[in-house]
């Protein structure tokens, strides 16, 4: 079972998103109203640690468990796709109160209404694929 480690990592992700309450619509509202440090603390801690770890992986050319070099693909240079795409994502994030990971974590909590949000998200991704060429990137 080579895949079990991904399931276990996913379980860890599901638990931390739950226990940090980052899957809650209320917490996302609190964040966008700047009324608590909570969400900023979570993201900030993860990013500060992430920056240090990414730097160390590059500096010491660390390898993955199979001995392959860990590579970081740079994002392609652009402003419009990140800004426009980001704004559209943000509009949905604050409306549904969850980003893609928490949509699924919420299913585990029995909030079945998120099935509709997930359906919308798949439909949105599909629609982007259809009209991609017509959008500024």
């Amino acid at each position: 079972m080579k895949g079990i480690k991904f399931i276990l990592t996913g379980i860890l992700f599901g638990i931390v998103m739950s226990k940090s309450e980052a899957i809650s619509w209320f917490r996302i509202q609190e964040m966008f109203r700047f009324q608590s440090f909570h969400m900023y603390g979570i993201i900030g801690t993860a990013v500060v640690l992430g920056v240090i770890i990414t730097y160390l992986i590059k500096k010491y050319k660390l390898r993955d468990y199979q001995g392959n070099p860990i590579v970081f693909a740079p994002k392609e240079k652009s402003v419009s796709r990140y800004l426009f795409g980001g704004i559209i994502f943000g509009l949905g994030w604050a409306l549904a109160g969850a980003c893609p990971g928490p949509l699924f974590v919420n299913l585990g909590h029995g909030y079945w209404a998120f099935l509709l949000v997930i359906f919308g998200a798949v439909a949105g991704t599909f629609t982007y694929g259809l009209i991609k060429e017509k959008l500024p990137h």
């Binding site: 940090s20 009324q35 943000g90 409306l95 549904a96 980003c99 585990g108 909590h109 209404a113 991704t125």
Partner: protein, 185 residues
């Protein structure tokens, strides 16, 4: 120990564990980005016939779908075994703001005004969830990533595009919070 785990985790513990998730995936030779799963689901459903974006070997991304399955199980474990059953402890200021919109103080993780079956079956609730999801899916693929891919992985790699995307996330979120929600509720 279980009692400690059952309380909400402080932000610094949560941040550390999220960074750990990112490191584990890197160590497994993958990268942390959840919204890619939405593209994989489209491809697995045969969307490759309609758009080149979905015409790829999605089976190579099975690991990310397994991660998704794990995320659902993690939610279930938290809800069944690691929950003290108390409402989300958001700030009093947020509770008051939301009350003005007609959204009651938290009784659980999610507001009943949006996520109950009754709401799903109402026009307003149905559209909030469907359109919210649509913009999440459309926007994350347009921007090339979501909170995990840009805000965590991308910023950790000091990528300017990810910073632009995160600024976009916040512009969109602030527009919904301050302009759209008062119109909707």
């Amino acid at each position: 120990m279980l009692e400690f785990l059952s309380q909400p985790w402080p932000w610094y513990v949560s941040g550390i564990v999220i960074a750990l998730v990112m490191v584990l995936l890197l160590f497994f030779g993958k990268s942390f980005g959840f919204s890619s799963n939405l593209r994989v689901i489209c491809a697995a459903c045969g969307a490759g016939k309609y758009a080149s974006l979905f015409d790829f070997d999605w089976r190579a991304q099975t690991w990310n779908l397994l991660f998704l399955v794990g995320a659902i199980i993690g939610g279930f474990i938290s809800s069944e075994f690691l929950s003290d059953g108390e409402a989300v402890r958001i700030s009093q200021a947020t509770i008051q703001d939301l009350r003005q919109l007609g959204i009651a103080a938290p009784k659980g993780l999610q507001p009943e005004e949006i996520f109950t079956l009754e709401s799903v079956l109402s026009v307003r609730g149905f559209l909030i969830l469907l359109l919210g999801g649509f913009m999440i899916g459309f926007g994350s693929r347009y921007a090339g990533g979501c909170t995990s891919g840009h805000a965590i992985s991308g910023l950790s790699n000091l990528q300017l595009p990810s910073l632009i995307a995160v600024v976009g996330f916040f512009i969109g979120g602030l527009i919904t919070t301050w302009l759209l929600l008062p119109l909707i509720f």
